[in-house]
Symmetry: C2
């Protein structure tokens, strides 16, 4: 099942069910008013949404309409929790090297996560408003899951049933704010402005056999200014699976329905696969030539992120342009 | 105006208006169904709530009832953002010393904040469920504000009007999980389980002249197992005021209505004022005697946090007992 949220003048938008091919939608009034309301009562409401999805795909929905991605918000326009992991070892090693920091000693035994800001997400086609380019704007292409209520202390082997939906992420980062912020010891804050998510949130069965043991075995594609940038496989090199990430973040407290848990920037050791962020490419340049060459994003730079399977764009495309922050963007 | 949220079987509870003396309440159906709904449309709805508050205080509310604090949830049972500062220099210096870490170089110039988990808050009388006492359970008594929508890049001098409500906080911490977690570089996560807030969220005018330039000039009282533990003044030694904390966290993105921003553990240099957490007391013992004496919280230990002015318990009392985590607490 594919779901989306459409702008309707309210803070939480209206829930849509989207056809498998991503071209048509229907307002899911009869299921729930919002994505959060569906997640709050998933077991009761999801079967109704699945029925609507089947009818939509069969062309039996009279109220179906052609979907305009620019009318969509993030599947959850605001959420109660956005926790981002960093599960690709290759990314951690390269990015820490770029800022002359060591990978943590527990790199391979203890998942690295940070608590992100979840009150203001960007829509999949929203501009990325930045007041100062010297902050060093970067994109980070990732995957994320949305859970229902997860009990504290859950073991990895019991996580699967709690993963209700998956999305793509652009975890926008302000690279030049990171070193001084992390030096303070409390993690990211101003260096992580609002995050964007894919147009569609999809149930794991939409991934077919690409969804295995809490990993998505498909390439995650990024295009910078319409040129190929990277297509690393999100599966094999995800050191901690979503099972392990969710278990980790539920170690000392329970999670409530609608919690978003991210994979971290998808990254492969094979450099022919490109990267999912600028920081990695810059570090590879530094290793090879002694200097960073690729600049961080400038005003007008456009990033496109999507994931395809059997010719189908599973999550729809995140497509965002960096722009100068104006009064309007300040909300 | 004083507000609270009462359990009603839903995730967000029902909004109450509470009398100035904290003894009576009325369901605020006519204003908004939930605290978040009120915050989402504050300018329109708050005057209606103020009218109800005036009627309640005048004894003119027929549907008023005697308030039972144990029926309340956190004013926001779940929120879209909970960002905790650490604005009391004395606390930072002592606590870092306790874990053999240095205060950040920018201690006095750049506010220290972390993004907390906001999807599962504890009610003011909820037990604190902990699976393993070796995690080192501590309380932290703090103040927090709730904002409306705050524009990105706001200057400190423009923050006041965005602070709609204030609360007390028990920022429960698992001290022995902190060193290894902070060593990874991404800040707190498992070391900060669910946070508790005071029964009442109050508008700044309830503090009278104790609310000055984004600081609350009143002692914050803590009692451990019913014995006096600390009453440091929350005002003069708050190095960064709420104006500066809110401005800092809105540097690179806007904040949405219902964002909670905390002060960090209230702490005074004068040791006769006691402390607002165990870690500080332990460090003072270590400095004086060479060893930590006071243990972290054990099962059955009770913490009580409140703030009084002119004989009135402004926010109601947070009162929580540490208990062993059972299946029931795992939710």
């Amino acid at each position: 099942m594919k779901l989306a949220t459409r702008k309707n003048g309210t803070r939480d938008g209206e829930l849509l069910v989207v056809s498998r091919d991503g071209t048509r939608g229907v307002v899911a009034h009869e299921v729930a008013s919002t994505m959060q309301a569906l997640l709050d009562n998933w077991d009761v409401l999801a079967p109704k949404a699945e029925n609507l999805y089947a009818a939509l795909n069969a062309g039996e929905c009279k109220s179906a309409f052609e979907l305009d991605i620019s009318t969509l918000t993030s599947p959850l326009p605001r959420a109660y929790a956005w926790i981002d992991g960093s599960a690709y070892i290759n990314h951690i090693v390269l990015v820490r090297k770029a800022r002359n920091a060591e990978p943590p000693e527990t790199l391979r035994t203890d998942p690295l996560v940070y608590q992100g800001g979840s009150d203001t997400f960007l829509a999949p086609r929203d501009d990325i408003p930045v007041a100062d380019l010297s902050w060093g704007v970067d994109f980070e292409a990732e995957l994320a899951v949305i859970t229902d209520d997860v009990p504290a202390g859950i073991l990895p082997e019991n996580v699967d049933g709690h993963i209700k939906l998956l999305m793509l992420v652009n975890d926008v980062s302000l690279r030049n704010l990171i070193p001084s912020e992390l030096k303070k010891g409390f993690g990211f804050f101003t260096s992580k402005p609002s995050t964007a998510f894919s147009p569609f949130a999809v149930t794991p069965d939409e991934l077919g056999d690409a969804w295995q043991s809490g990993r998505v075995h498909l390439p995650l594609e990024s295009y910078l200014n319409d040129a190929f940038y990277g297509n690393p496989d999100a599966g094999p090199e995800m050191h901690f699976s979503f099972r392990e990430l969710v278990s980790h973040v539920a170690k000392t407290r329970w999670l409530s329905a609608g919690t978003i848990v991210g994979s971290g920037t998808v990254s492969n050791e094979d450099i022919s696969k490109g990267s999912s962020c600028l920081a990695e490419k810059r570090m590879l340049e530094k290793i090879k030539t002694g200097e960073f060459k690729t600049p961080f994003m400038q005003y007008g730079d456009k990033i496109r992120i999507e994931m395809n399977k059997d010719g189908q764009n599973i999550f729809g495309t995140i497509e965002q342009t960096v722009v100068e922050r104006t009064m309007e963007h300040r909300k």
